[in-house]
């Protein structure tokens, strides 16, 4: 289906002059935002839209218009909780949640500062943790997150209580560490090769 979406862009005269950003989203996610006819089901169902600066339907429209600055600097994509409600309800089968991911990936690649820096820091802390430990080691991840955000006192009481209840591990299990190190390295190489191709 993703292939068909790609073909449709080439063959449809009204979408030939599409924005570079829409093309970047298509490349990254296989999603053709030009299929959107602004019914706004995605915005209506989104549980997070009340804190977003642009509703999902508005963001899709801005991608079509090639408004790179607005899209890549929006809080919307960083606030998306990946609940998949928009994706499930889109009558045009645009995977809106995947579009959100594609915009984040594009923003990171172009060196745009994330509009909600804590969320990007959380991803970085979690990924560094998975890469080194093989599995998520929550205590280590939280320390990594705090070092990146300087929010040292947030949720400390909650963390202590979780620890007392035996919900946090003292030491990481490093069983899959070599595997994840290898996977992370090879993913980077394959992505680099494909970008240069």
């Amino acid at each position: 289906m993703e292939k068909e979406a790609g073909k449709m862009i080439q063959s449809c005269p009204t979408t030939q002059a599409q924005s570079q950003l829409a093309e970047a989203v298509l490349r990254e996610s296989g999603q053709n935002v030009n299929l959107c006819y602004q019914c706004r089901k995605c915005a209506a169902g989104c549980p997070i839209s009340y804190v977003m600066d642009y509703k999902p339907a508005q963001l899709i429209h801005a991608i079509r218009l090639g408004m790179d600055d607005l899209v890549l600097n929006s809080k919307t994509v960083w606030l998306c909780a990946s609940c998949e409600t928009c994706t499930t309800r889109c009558p045009q089968e645009v995977d809106v949640a995947k579009v959100m991911d594609a915009v984040k990936i594009t923003a990171l690649r172009r060196g745009v500062k994330p509009a909600i820096p804590q969320v990007a820091s959380f991803y970085n802390a979690a990924l560094a943790n998975i890469k080194k430990c093989g599995r998520m080691y929550e205590l280590g991840m939280i320390v990594g997150f705090k070092l990146r955000t300087f929010e040292f006192f947030k949720d400390v009481g909650l963390g202590m209580k979780m620890f007392r209840k035996g919900k946090l591990r003292m030491v990481p299990s490093l069983g899959g560490a070599l595997t994840t190190l290898r996977i992370f390295r090879r993913v980077k190489n394959v992505e680099k090769k494909n970008r240069n191709a």
């Binding site: 289906m1 993703e2 292939k3 996610s29 296989g30 549980p47 997070i48 804190v51 606030l79 909780a81 990946s82 609940c83 998949e84 409600t85 994706t87 499930t88 995977d95 949640a97 991911d101 984040k104 990936i105 990171l108 909600i116 804590q118 969320v119 820091s121 959380f122 991803y123 970085n124 979690a126 990924l127 998975i130 093989g134 599995r135 998520m136 929550e138 939280i142 997150f145 947030k154 949720d155 909650l158 209580k161 979780m162 209840k165 035996g166 919900k167 946090l168 591990r169 299990s173 069983g175 899959g176 595997t179 994840t180 996977i183 992370f184 090879r186 993913v187 394959v190 992505e191 494909n194």
Partner: protein, 289 residues
């Protein structure tokens, strides 16, 4: 013949959601279902992976599916809704997109397994297992709302699990154990998930909505099938009460814990003592031997 599955616990079931792990194991043992934990499993990557690299988010799940194949198994059960979703998404995307399948193969340096079924515990228990026969205790006062969250059913074309807007699998399972479940409209509404770490305000608002509706329909407990939903509804419930000036004290169970209670397994063996909102008062009030 006893059913047998490879078991992918995922990171949460080894830490913040360890009650789900112990109760799932206890229930499987009671029902004679054999589950073998995958040796050397790695994290599925969850949101941090799919938000930053599509290839990474598919390669990590596939590494685990390769391990399942090497165990000689064809069915893998993943209780965490997020792991379940990532494993199924990887299978779906590799089947839909030969290019990405080729890239995953290149990363893992192995042919991708073709015949691994990814299952939720709800599917294996609803698969003709004679569950009602194992019931030894009745809990007639329990009034439970089943909270499925986002990722068990969405996106429907990937998950192909039950009715995506109004699932019934958990309700039917609990009903078959004699536990009353209630209709409500927040079954698949989002709790905010991992935003709890970064934008706690959003999670407090969304969980407040969910808890309000649960109380409004007359529930005295919530059943969940996702460790992230559990953390937000249980461990942050006091914070919600403080923020909104409310008082719920609403116990949040993994559905496997409720199964265990109906099978007469002692609460301590189901990890109930790890909950922030104690279920002791509720359970002593609704119990019937």
């Amino acid at each position: 013949m006893a059913a047998k599955y490879a078991y992918y616990p995922g990171c949460s079931l080894h830490s913040t959601g360890s009650e789900y792990d112990v109760s799932f194991r206890a229930v499987c043992e009671k029902l004679g279902i054999q589950i073998d934990e995958i040796k050397g499993w790695v994290c599925c990557g969850t949101s941090p992976a799919h938000c930053t690299s599509r290839l990474l988010s598919l390669a990590l799940p596939y590494e685990n599916l390769l391990l399942v194949e090497r165990m000689g198994a064809t069915d893998v059960v993943a209780p965490c809704a997020s792991c379940f979703s990532r494993l199924k998404t990887a299978v779906h995307e590799a089947a839909e997109d030969p290019d990405i399948a080729g890239q995953i193969r290149e990363v893992l340096d192995a042919p991708l397994p073709e015949s691994v079924n990814v299952l939720s515990p709800l599917e294996i228990f609803n698969d003709g297992t004679p569950i009602a026969e194992a019931v030894t205790k009745q809990w007639p006062g329990l009034k439970v709302v089943c909270y499925y969250g986002c990722l068990l059913t969405r996106p429907s074309k990937v998950m192909q699990f039950d009715e995506c807007e109004y699932p019934m699998a958990m309700d039917e399972l609990l009903a078959s154990l004699g536990i009353a479940t209630l209709d409500w409209s927040y079954k698949t509404d989002c709790c905010g998930g991992a935003l709890a770490v970064t934008r706690t305000d959003v999670v407090l608002k969304l969980t407040h909505d969910i808890l309000e509706e649960a109380v409004a329909v007359g529930a005295n407990a919530i059943a969940v099938a996702c460790p992230l939903c559990h953390v937000n509804l249980d461990t942050r419930q006091t914070e919600v009460e403080q923020e909104y000036g409310t008082q719920y004290g609403l116990p949040v169970f993994y559905f496997t814990q409720l199964m265990g209670l109906a099978f007469g397994i002692p609460p301590a063996k189901l990890g109930l003592q790890k909950h922030f909102v104690s279920a002791d008062a509720l359970l002593s009030g609704v119990r019937e031997d």
